[in-house]
């Protein structure tokens, strides 16, 4: 795994938190997931290419500061309704980078929010138990055949013509 030495700028955390409130249903605050979502997005950004990551951070900074021109306050300080309006203007912006920032950030926030344990519980998504059970059934029923396959996999090919061998193994 490759994770860059990157920490999401502290000064932009309020903007990211505000974006999370716009992009997620009220369950976000109800379940106290804001910080978790912000941290998760920061972690995911560490896996991104540096240019992409820099673009995202610059975009979030522009989203935060740009609201001052339109609404007189930073994005993170806007009341909910106005924050939605500002976000919506980015989502539908004729300027491709603005539109893409909104979509990309929404995707990251959605990933973080719906990947959280409480939301998985709410959605009744319990794959671990299913996987454990399916894996157990598989081994019970097919274990011997699976072992035979694994053995054949690392055995020399009896059908391989000898002239194919450039140099015989010791």
């Amino acid at each position: 795994m490759i994770l860059a030495d990157f920490h999401f700028p502290r000064r932009l955390r309020p903007a990211l938190a505000q974006a999370a409130r716009v992009c997620c249903p009220p369950d976000l605050d109800e379940l106290g997931l804001v910080d978790q979502v912000v941290d998760y997005v920061g972690l995911q950004l560490r896996a991104f290419p540096s240019a992409f990551r820099a673009g995202m951070v610059a975009g979030i900074a522009a989203l935060e500061a740009g609201a001052v021109l339109r609404h007189g306050r930073r994005f993170s300080q806007l009341p909910a309704e106005t924050a939605h309006l500002w976000w919506h203007s980015w989502w539908n912006s004729p300027i491709a980078p603005c539109r893409q920032l909104a979509k990309g950030l929404n995707a990251l926030i959605a990933l973080a929010f719906y990947d959280s344990k409480p939301m998985r519980e709410r959605l009744e998504y319990h794959p671990d138990a299913w996987i454990a059970d399916a894996a157990r059934r598989r081994l019970e029923r097919w274990g011997a055949e699976i072992r035979r396959h694994e053995e054949a996999l690392v055995a020399p090919d009896p059908l391989l013509p000898p002239q194919r061998l450039v140099r015989r193994h010791a």
Partner: protein, 512 residues
Amino acid sequence: MRRPAGIFTRDDVIHDVVLDCDAIVVGSGAGGGVVASELAEGGLDVIVLEEGGYHPTEEFAPEPGAMTRKLYRDGGASMAIGTPTILYAEGRCVGGSTVINGGMSWRTPEKVLDRWYREDHVDGVRDGGLDRYFERVERYISAAHQDPGTVGRDNQLLRAGADARGWKVVDNIRDQVHCAGTNNCAFGCPTAAKRSTLVSYIPRALAFGARVYSDVKVERIARAGKRIVGVDARVVRANGTRGPKVTVRAPITVVCAGAIYTPALLMASGIRPPSGALGKNLTLHPNAKVVAVFDENVEGWKGVHQAYQVREFQDEGFLMAAVTLPPSVLAMSLPRYGDELHEIIKDYNRIVSGGILVEDTVSGQVRLLPGGMPMAFYQLTDHDAERIVRGTALLAELLFAAGARKVLMPFDGVPLLRSADDVRRHVYGHRIPKKHIEVMTVHLMGTARMGGDPARHVCDAHGKVHDTEGLWVADASLFPSPIGVNPMETIMALATRNAERILDHQAHRRAA
């Protein structure tokens, strides 16, 4: 976790090293894993260099964020620039994209092979010429239909909808040994039932003496004139910075880094085949998704990933399948946010997510940006965009025929559809701007295309790079055109064929 003998990681290479071998294989996925195994079995001393890490099956879990960081290039955030921007996914780990794909194992359609022969002079591939390679691959990856009882309700509904419309459906052939239907293919198979090269060809290569260096990125192919003498690589540290040098010298180098990084590596190494086609001809099978909500409980995560394909429209150039994803990944791919998004996702267990794969008619290209980072550029044509609209509309009709109550299309601005009539009302007959279409892909092809004409093709029909000595390609870059079906088995068959040719070359050289 104990590592198998022969696999090395960044922890094993703490100083600069110089290695010698008979053949270097760059990449360990569908191309690299196969080539490494075939060459090692053929008696060559093989070193595989894989940029990603070694992650055994025990690490795989239904945790999309953690798994994309671990197994995907760029954490899954790779994209082709154009309108629309197209997200693409590539594996970056031992096993490459075979670790994260759905495991579909289809032979190349005969009409495609025929076209490659006629238009690109790729000898020996038509009239069953590839059959023995397909058979060999299918043996090692255990390509087979699913066992009864492993097909989930999502796929049953897809089939029911297709049957109701009278459309042709086929059972998928997948690389699996008694797949239990855990539906975690995209984040690593947690049972090793899916025969990615991580658990098939790489163990086979190791059994025949190959060495696999993970966390090692090849930066340059070393040359002496036109003769390739090896590669210069670096350990990739955990934070992505460059670690110790890994210099490997060998008379044969086979590049299998995928359709973006293979041409990028050749370009960065100053290799310029005379055709000028290196990096061009990028095709990518655009995918688009349709999400349908049913009244009944579906729980699509309980069952195999993609049991069937709807092939009714294959001649028009698109396929359909049911593709269940974890809620977080589904949510991030939909053109909605906030309450509108949650309105769909809250019914996660009643959702069937379907997708279409389009055989594209245009090509993009890969270029190196300053600093050496490759970037893909691709413009969806009006014709392909129309087929995406038509294909997803037909898929929506299928899902309504199966009993869906509402359907979300992959188009920004199109409302939630509540009946087949809504499909006609809101989709057919409307021009949907390309920038409003959500497109992604996992199939990148064509950027080092093979063929018989050095003036048009980057590689010859067996993957040898024109105008070089000792340099080969064995991945989807070779495809002269898109193939319209999942490409893994085609890559593997071509890699087997290329490896056979390399062994023949070596045998002749040694005999001489």
